[in-house]
């Protein structure tokens, strides 16, 4: 049985859970289906789950319709660096990426439902008749409450999502699997996950909307495989015999077979002719134990083209402390942000990714 809890208040959870056990489903599921099956070969009117006729038979039938659907599903890429592209996949491609599990799971859902990551989680849960708790764009307290109350076992989210859970309030021992993807995963994210979910296996996924998941890792070091190629420090994904797709993601080999992601080509900032990778500066800043998040961005000017500025999330450090810390850690002056803003939070896109 799949269900999704949306805007319910804490005190109504148990009654909703009861209703779900009785074979009812939240209408959010229906809206997911109608969005998903965009070319619509399913007559949704037969399966609309309303308050009067919420029968589990309908839902299982609906599930089988979704699985066997010949629909082509349109996704928009997140357009992190440039224009969002439209990508179409058929259901069999998406279902190929799902796995059957013997144990039932409780998923915390954190993605925008019209994007690949979100649909993958929903299909994964649907295949296994799992429970899904909607945690998309919910605040920290809400997330902590539902994780406890429903004993969430699986979370799939962007690094930014995990960082937004800081400061760590407690550990969640029931969580068995953490999936992280959609953005470059830095050391800080892995640290947070290990501390907050000590019993969880980490699965760091590198995926593109075009190809689905391409690389997997238990931390943030990836192994070279035959699906990829690295050329000039940029990751290429093989799409056919001698055909490669340039991902624009920058990588650094740490030995003959392993590499880490260090940023994106399109985000490189030119300061008076010298290139700076903002992700690397962010890593240095967030290595400070009292800083949870940092975003480095550019301020343009006629003299040098750009200078660096940054937003830093911390209540415990001053601008002067950050500046002295950076002067100590970064030798090249032009790589130190000239403008430092201390903020309560950084801007996060609808896909739970940090916006520069």
């Amino acid at each position: 049985m799949i269900f999704i809890i949306t805007e319910k208040k804490a005190e109504t959870y148990s009654s909703l859970l009861y209703k779900v056990n009785e074979g009812m489903c939240d209408c959010y599921f229906t809206s997911f289906v109608s969005d998903l099956v965009s070319d619509n070969d399913i007559d949704l009117s037969n399966y609309v789950i309303n308050k009067k006729k919420n029968k589990i038979a309908n839902l299982l039938e609906l599930k089988s319709k979704i699985i066997n659907s010949k629909s082509r599903i349109r996704f928009k890429t997140s357009g992190t660096t440039g224009n969002a592209k439209k990508i179409t996949h058929d259901m069999s491609f998406l279902l190929n990426k799902t796995k059957k599990f013997t144990k039932s799971c409780v998923w915390l859902y954190t993605y925008n439902k019209l994007h690949m990551g979100g649909v993958q989680v929903l299909l994964q849960a649907l295949i296994n008749n799992d429970t899904v708790i909607d945690g998309y764009k919910k605040d920290r307290d809400y997330i902590f409450n539902v994780m406890k109350e429903y004993e969430v076992t699986n979370i799939s989210a962007t690094p930014t999502f995990y960082k937004l859970l800081l400061p760590i309030k407690e550990q969640f021992l029931k969580v068995k699997k953490i999936t992280v993807g959609g953005e470059r995963t830095d050391d800080k994210t892995i640290e947070i996950i290990n501390e907050m979910f000590p019993n969880a296996k980490v699965n760091n996924i590198y995926a593109t909307t075009e190809h689905g998941a391409v690389l997997f890792s238990r931390n943030n070091v990836f192994k070279v495989n035959d699906k990829i190629m690295i050329k000039g420090g940029v990751l290429l994904v093989k799409t056919g015999e001698n055909i490669h797709y340039n991902t624009g993601d920058l990588v650094k080999m740490i030995n003959d077979t392993e590499f880490v992601f260090i940023g994106r080509n399109a985000e490189i900032i030119n300061i008076g002719g010298r290139n700076v990778n903002p992700s690397q500066i962010e890593d240095v800043i967030t290595n400070h134990p009292k800083i949870s998040q940092a975003v480095v961005y550019t301020k343009s000017n006629k003299l040098l083209g750009n200078i660096l500025a940054c937003k830093v999330v911390s209540t415990e450090v001053t601008e002067n402390e950050i500046r002295s810390y950076l002067k100590e850690k970064i030798k090249e002056g032009y790589k130190i942000p000239r403008i430092i803003n201390l903020v309560d939070s950084v801007l996060v896109s609808k896909n739970n990714k940090v916006v520069r």
């Binding site: 300061i271 000017n301 003299l303 000239r338 403008i339």
Partner: protein
């Protein structure tokens, strides 16, 4: 009005100098030379330009170099 602008520019220059670990014994006056007197390098000048633009919405380097505080004030 111009006095007010001088004060704002002086404040911005003071922040920029602090960020560059620069010190200046004298007062910042219109005749003060940004590079020769204060020791601002191109990064510091770019920071100054960005901070001035945030405040006045004008890039002081739009039409070429400015050398003194007076030349900055004339752009605003």
């Amino acid at each position: 009005m111009s006095g007010n602008k001088l004060e704002k520019i002086t404040n911005i220059i003071t922040i920029v100098m602090k960020n560059s670990s620069l010190e200046y014994e004298g007062d910042i006056i219109p005749q003060t030379h940004l590079r020769n007197d204060l020791g601002l390098d191109s990064l510091a000048l770019a920071e100054m330009a960005v901070r001035i633009e945030d405040e006045f919405d004008i890039d002081v380097f739009e039409d070429g170099l400015v050398n003194t505080v007076k030349e900055v004030l004339e752009k605003l």
